[in-house]
């Protein structure tokens, strides 16, 4: 779950358990867990019910999916940020232009699919936005609910079973099927 974009309902997202990382200097938690499993990236879909733009720095908006409201932050300061200063300027320009396009598309009442990283600011869980996609099909939200329910029941709620690190030596010594496979390869 840590390396995939987890589709969560807002009610589920808002109950993630934050933990402080020993590797981070931030006073806000940087690790987030759902029922013991770490979640870093998520995908949500809902109606934009609020937007507040702070000049060229960021756009803050809220997504209401009917089960809760998720705060989202879309950074727009790529061209002035020291974080991006080390990267290729043409790449940074592209990223900045895309972020501006996303910001323009986020208007009150649109149905938006938002993907990003789970972060926390002043004790409030939020999404730091990677990308935004506007849904034209009004059924998209229903399908998103069903996806979230199915994924939670079939995968996210199921305890992880770790594969054994090594198989018993006997398995390798007496495994005839392996021998057959090698013979077939010859």
């Amino acid at each position: 779950m840590q390396n995939t974009r987890v589709k969560l309902l807002a009610s589920d997202f808002l109950t993630l358990t934050p933990k402080l990382s020993s590797y981070s200097s931030s006073s806000d938690p940087t690790l987030f867990f759902r029922k013991g499993k770490q979640v870093s990236r998520i995908e949500t879909l809902g109606v934009v019910v609020s937007r507040e733009r702070k000049g060229d720095r960021y756009l803050k908006f809220f997504i209401d999916d009917g089960t809760g409201c998720i705060s989202c932050i879309l950074w727009l300061n790529h061209l002035n940020s020291t974080y991006f200063a080390r990267r290729n300027p043409s790449d940074v320009r592209l990223i900045a232009d895309m972020a501006q396009d996303y910001a323009t598309s986020i208007q009150l009442g649109v149905l938006a699919r938002v993907r990003g990283c789970v972060t926390c600011f002043r004790g409030v869980l939020q999404i730091t936005v990677d990308d935004v996609f506007l849904e034209r099909d009004p059924n998209a939200e229903i399908l998103h609910w069903l996806d979230c329910v199915k994924l939670a029941r079939k995968f996210y709620d199921v305890p992880t079973v770790r594969p054994p690190l090594c198989r018993p030596a006997q398995y390798f010594n007496n495994n005839n099927s392996n021998k057959r496979t090698f013979e077939n390869l010859r």
Binding site: L14, T15, P18, S50, D64, G66, G109, R122, I142
Partner: protein
């Protein structure tokens, strides 16, 4: 964790808003869907209907939405119950949802509520 600042519009059908409904409270934030039956440009008041139930919606804050009688609309807003028992939804957000499969919507709503109850019971 601190909660976010904006209340979500609880998903309800117009059938859920019967006189004894727990959703029928002054100030409740709701999300409703219905077919546009009436719309007045002067008052910006709309009436949406689902089956035999209708609901008045105040759309004065919705600037960019065009209204077409017979189309299906979704509104998110706060319920106002006036002293004369008139119930009106003060819409914050609205959109046209023509093409939405309403049967699928209401069936999925039941599944969603069931799932949320399950999750709440597991946490308790």
């Amino acid at each position: 964790m601190a909660s976010s600042e904006i209340k979500p519009g609880l998903l309800v059908s117009l059938q859920d808003l019967h006189p004894n409904s727990p959703f029928l409270k002054h100030g409740a934030s709701l999300r409703v869907i219905g077919k546009l039956q009436e719309y007045s440009v002067e008052t910006a008041r709309a009436v949406i209907v689902d089956g035999s139930i209708n609901l008045k919606v105040d759309t004065q804050h919705l600037r960019d939405l065009s209204f077409r009688i017979g189309s299906i609309y979704q509104f998110i807003g706060e319920l106002h119950i006036k002293p004369d028992d008139e119930t009106i939804l003060q819409a914050r957000v609205g959109r046209n949802v023509d093409g939405m499969d309403l049967n699928l919507y209401y069936q999925s709503l039941q599944l969603l509520r069931q799932f949320q109850d399950e999750q709440a019971n597991k946490q308790n």
